[in-house]
Symmetry: C2
């Protein structure tokens, strides 16, 4: 599958969209800095892969894929703010508020949030009203934003709590990618299938991302509060395994060959981590092993 | 005209919308606190008034009016943040980040921004794509947000600069109210007329709001940096007069009787301020006179 061609196509449209929609004012640098150079474009490529499996990739898919990347970028900018996660780095560079300043970062995020909805108006689809409703339901106060609220409010006392935060904060955007793509495609799947796939993929990535954090040296206090060191790790790994199995089964059953190919590298790595890591992680936090999970960052 | 009935209708729909779209989680209080009790609902009532003049008020107008109020509220919450205008009070109560905290205020704003677009999906209108494009153009990085950027970047060295900020930060939302209403109405006006009306109304309100700030006692430094004490006040008042005249002429010419009635109280007050105040403000900053402008806050 021409994943690299698709990546370039989305990248080109992303650049063109910013050229069209940003003002001739130095503020456009703040937004461009956060969006470009584009990362792996993981979410847009999920849209393209599923679109291919459900018919042909059309202009509406391109707009939707670009919109998701803009929206994802706004969430990262706001998440990094001092009042939120207070992260100084993003993708190996200073985060937006560090490079510029806080108010510019807040407004860059707000600007991208507006644009992520605004460019949907460029679509030619009778599904637009449903898509917008879905978008705000999954990204708004009942969706992704509720995940941020629970995360910052430390509502993460049990593995179940943490998985719920991952479902809201990470999986909702991937579910939206699948559900939105589905709305715009000729031979759609059921809503439930899209939700399950997005849930399994999103939650697994985030659980593995959490494990990555254990590669950082922890002091005694951090060891006490890091919930991952206190959970039943058998349960944790069996959840990851279950999600991986579900994805494989669903993709096979519905002949989602392109999506399967695109996610395969990730799924294989997940499997390897589970089989290699199970014993390791129970005994101790092995830095070398866990570092390999870093490759999985989306 | 039944302005009070309309206000109640919009208020009811606003409450219902929040009930539908907010989660069963204490975070919904943060959003409700900022939206309710509703203020004058000035922008939604502009939509209703113009809609009445251009045919009949329909369900799409109600959704659009509600969306504008949600969007307006998000801008206020983010504007008040410490990194932005750092305002501790809003509508005589603690601002959102003071009442709750900063991250809750950031996320409440983001949530409302999402909802302001999301509820447009509840419309039944072939104009939806145009409306969404327009919305993001007027509220996004080329519109309202650029106004916030210029304001916070102190790009306010001349009266012309300040008026441009008011055009972007205040008038764009009023222009959007008129242009969006126009799109959803049976007998629309020209785009230019809507833009002119929104410009004149928005810029005038904001100029008068600036004059209000002069009611605060100023120290020597503040007197030096307050641009209004250094401008040609004849020019300032002639601009306000010109905008007021334009509104009256356009509303008369296009028989916008309902809009005229709704804005009339404001226009009369503006005229009084111009005639009473012209001499006063040139001689000195008369607190008593300027306090009366406070009634005009939208």
């Amino acid at each position: 599958m021409p994943f690299e061609n698709w990546r370039q196509e989305i990248n080109t449209y992303l650049i063109q969209t910013l050229e069209d929609k940003l003002p001739s004012h130095e503020f456009n640098e703040v937004i461009r800095y956060s969006v470009l150079p584009a990362g792996k474009l993981f979410r847009p490529l999920l849209v393209y892969s599923l679109a291919k499996d459900l018919g042909e990739i059309n202009f509406n898919h391109k707009i939707f894929a670009t919109s998701l990347e803009l929206h994802h970028t706004y969430t990262l900018i706001h998440d990094d703010l001092p009042a939120m996660d207070d992260d100084d780095e993003r993708r190996g560079r200073p985060s937006c508020h560090v490079k510029y300043n806080e108010w510019k970062a807040i407004l860059a995020g707000d600007g991208l949030l507006n644009l992520s909805y605004g460019i949907l108006g460029d679509m030619n689809s009778t599904q637009l009203p449903d898509l917008i409703r879905l978008y705000a339901e999954y990204m708004g106060p009942k969706g992704l934003i509720l995940g941020q609220v629970k995360d910052l409010g430390h509502e993460n006392k049990s593995l179940k709590d943490i998985i719920q935060i991952h479902e809201l904060k990470t999986a909702r955007l991937i579910q939206l990618a699948f559900l939105g793509c589905n709305l715009l495609s000729q031979s759609p799947l059921s809503t439930t299938i899209c939700q399950q796939l997005g849930y399994a993929l999103g939650v697994n990535f985030q659980l593995l991302d959490d494990l990555c954090e254990l590669t950082e040296p922890l002091n005694t206090h951090e060891k006490e509060i890091n919930p991952f060191l206190h959970f039943d790790q058998n349960e944790l790994f069996s959840i990851i395994q279950k999600n991986t199995d579900l994805m494989r089964t669903v993709m096979k059953q519905h002949q989602l060959n392109c999506l399967k190919e695109y996610t395969n590298t990730y799924l294989q790595k997940m499997n390897k981590i589970i089989s290699d890591g199970h014993q390791t992680i129970i005994k101790s936090v092995d830095k070398k092993y866990l570092t390999s999970i870093n490759d999985l960052k989306i």
